[in-house]
């Protein structure tokens, strides 16, 4: 944490705030997320800081609980995509040959279909539940992680210390987890931030289209969907999630940028 620039510290602080609000939502939120507390689309007041939504529920409460759902789904999907993508990517790099060929070509194939279109095609026959959403987003996103971790691991795989480990008689699992993983971690962690933001945007888009988180559960994309009719009447309730998403994604980007700079300067430019 030494020598952390102010921008990165600010980013880390704001990101932490979002996560804390998500974790402690039931204690922070002033009302219940499904409770109707006023008229439709009341303007902001002392009782309702952000006003009320299309059914008269408190918008601040909906935003806090919505952040909880959105951040949870995005985190779980990112975790899945990283575990899967990194392990498969390292495996492809370490084994090489036809294993690498088969995995890389299959990955190219999935990446050649636009992510949103692929997700819509799959969701047309799947029940739309939170676990399925996490699975779909995580699997589709793991193709990007696969590509990066394979590229990073191919570089590390030819290092002398990896060869030394091989000559020592260590197995492939040791090479992947004890030699490659620790050395590939920093570029991957920087990528983690970007993939997390992508997952947030993705789940929000799906929810907005009505194919993501289902009501009455709140989430940021769903809040836009619920309140979109208000826009035409000049009621900006649907725009509030925009601020949340922009603030969160800029903060995470600031942290990720700093990590990327730090790793590239330490490792002599590798991982750019």
């Amino acid at each position: 944490m030494k020598g952390m620039p102010i921008s990165a510290a600010l980013g880390l602080f704001v990101t932490a705030l979002f996560f804390l609000a998500a974790i402690f939502a039931p204690w922070i939120a002033p009302y219940s997320p499904t409770q109707i507390v006023g008229d439709l689309w009341e303007p902001s007041s002392r009782e309702h800081w952000l006003g009320t939504d299309n059914l008269g529920r408190d918008l601040l409460t909906r935003m806090i609980y919505g952040g909880r759902t959105t951040i949870f789904v995005a985190s779980a999907a990112t975790l899945l995509s990283f575990t899967l993508g990194a392990i498969l990517g390292f495996t492809a790099a370490v084994y090489g040959g036809w294993v690498d060929q088969v995995m890389s070509r299959a990955n190219d194939l999935v990446m050649s279909i636009p992510t949103l279109i692929f997700a819509l095609v799959v969701l047309s026959v799947m029940p739309v539940t939170i676990p399925i959403l996490i699975l779909v987003i995580g699997l589709l996103d793991s193709t990007r992680v696969f590509r990066l971790s394979r590229a990073v691991a191919v570089d590390i795989n030819v290092m002398d210390y990896v060869e030394a480990a091989r000559l020592r008689g260590e197995g492939q699992a040791w090479v992947i987890f004890r030699e490659i993983l620790p050395n590939a971690l920093s570029p991957l962690v920087a990528e983690l931030g970007l993939r997390f933001i992508f997952a947030i945007l993705f789940i929000s888009t799906l929810s907005f289209l009505g194919l993501g988180v289902q009501p009455p559960l709140a989430d940021w994309g769903g809040i836009v969907r619920d309140n979109r009719e208000g826009i035409v009447w000049g009621i900006p309730a649907a725009l509030i999630p925009a601020f949340a998403i922009v603030t969160l994604s800029i903060s995470v980007n600031l942290v990720a940028d700093w990590m990327l700079n730090r790793t590239t300067s330490l490792k002599g430019g590798r991982g750019v």
Binding site: S112, P114, V121, V122, V224
Partner: protein, 319 residues
């Protein structure tokens, strides 16, 4: 003996066709085989066994998957996508009109975005690390951080509701003149322009900056050329291949971004059609739309590759 560049082009096109075939398999498998039974999913868990059985027979699900796949593929190649489950209408006719609308919207957005992105990219290089560069980077970064649909509502709120310049709902129909249509798609086109502008401008800037580090640029600089002449006469020609590549990739992205924007502005295009039928679990329509979107996407990426092969002088004039 064929010209080596011709061989390269033919190879690249053949590879894309192969990829497209594989994609059609993935789309088919993704909708037909994944959770066991499409008929059951469409009718819901509580449906009587007889109804599921009937639907299965009607969709031809009792036949083996490979047979159904080839039947679907050959019909699709001849422009026949079957009928929609929800309203029994012919899918190809419905798509025909909507594809035209979508292409019109994408074309309008591209007509604004491409020149603007290249101009702003040049401007950012000219004033690198000074306030115009920082301003352009800041605005485009914010545009990237917003999901398309939210950017859509922000723009709708400002330009349609507060200022009242354009209609908030973009309905177009056959009887409208070109200018009326243009007015109707102004806002969605503006959103799409902003979305791709950010990516395109940043990549253009990077492509030119990359060329600007070459030795011959330094020579030109030391000759005392003005910065703009330098960029236009010396850097630009060598950056054209990467820029065209960037433009094509972003046009491919535009075709996908259209899906969400059409829903925001209730525009009668392919995206709206696809999303409507995903929630109705209308599998034949989803397959058809998925295949068309993937084809356009792969096609534009192919054009990007072909252009970068053709603009490479080392490949055009082999030793």
């Amino acid at each position: 003996m064929m010209h080596p560049i011709l061989t390269l082009l033919v190879q690249r096109i053949a590879l894309s066709l192969l990829l497209l075939l594989a994609v059609s398999v993935v789309i088919f498998v993704g909708t037909e085989i994944l959770p066991g039974d499409v008929a059951r999913v469409i009718l819901g868990q509580g449906a009587p066994e007889q109804a599921v059985e009937n639907l299965r027979a009607q969709m031809g699900l009792d036949r083996p998957a490979t047979v159904r796949y080839f039947e679907w593929l050959f019909n699709a190649l001849q422009g026949d996508f079957g009928v929609a489950l929800s309203n029994r209408r012919d899918i190809a006719t419905a798509i025909g009109q909507r594809l035209g609308n979508t292409m019109f919207l994408a074309a309008v957005a591209a007509a604004f975005a491409v020149p603007l992105a290249i101009f702003l990219g040049l401007l950012a290089v000219r004033y690198q690390n000074r306030w115009p560069d920082r301003l352009i980077s800041g605005v485009t970064l914010t545009a990237i951080s917003l999901p398309e649909f939210l950017l859509g509502y922000v723009i709708m709120y400002v330009f349609a509701v507060q200022l009242g310049w354009f209609p908030s709902v973009s309905s177009v129909h056959g009887g409208m003149s070109f200018w009326q249509k243009l007015n109707a798609v102004a806002l969605p086109a503006m959103v799409l322009t902003l979305v791709v502008l950010a990516h395109m401008m940043r990549m253009t800037r990077a492509a030119i900056l990359n060329v600007m580090q070459s030795a011959y640029i330094e020579t030109a600089e030391l000759k005392g050329l003005r910065k703009l002449t330098l960029i236009f006469r010396h850097a630009m020609p060598n950056a054209i291949a990467p820029i065209v590549n960037v433009v094509m990739i972003n046009l491919a992205y535009l075709v996908v971004g259209v899906v969400v924007i059409e829903v925001v502005f209730v525009y009668p295009g392919m995206g709206q059609y696809l999303v409507d039928h995903v929630s109705r679990r209308d599998v034949p329509v989803v397959q058809a739309c998925g295949l068309i979107f993937a084809t356009v996407y792969i096609g534009l990426n192919l054009v990007a590759d072909l252009v970068s092969i053709l603009t490479n002088p080392r490949l055009r004039h082999p030793k």
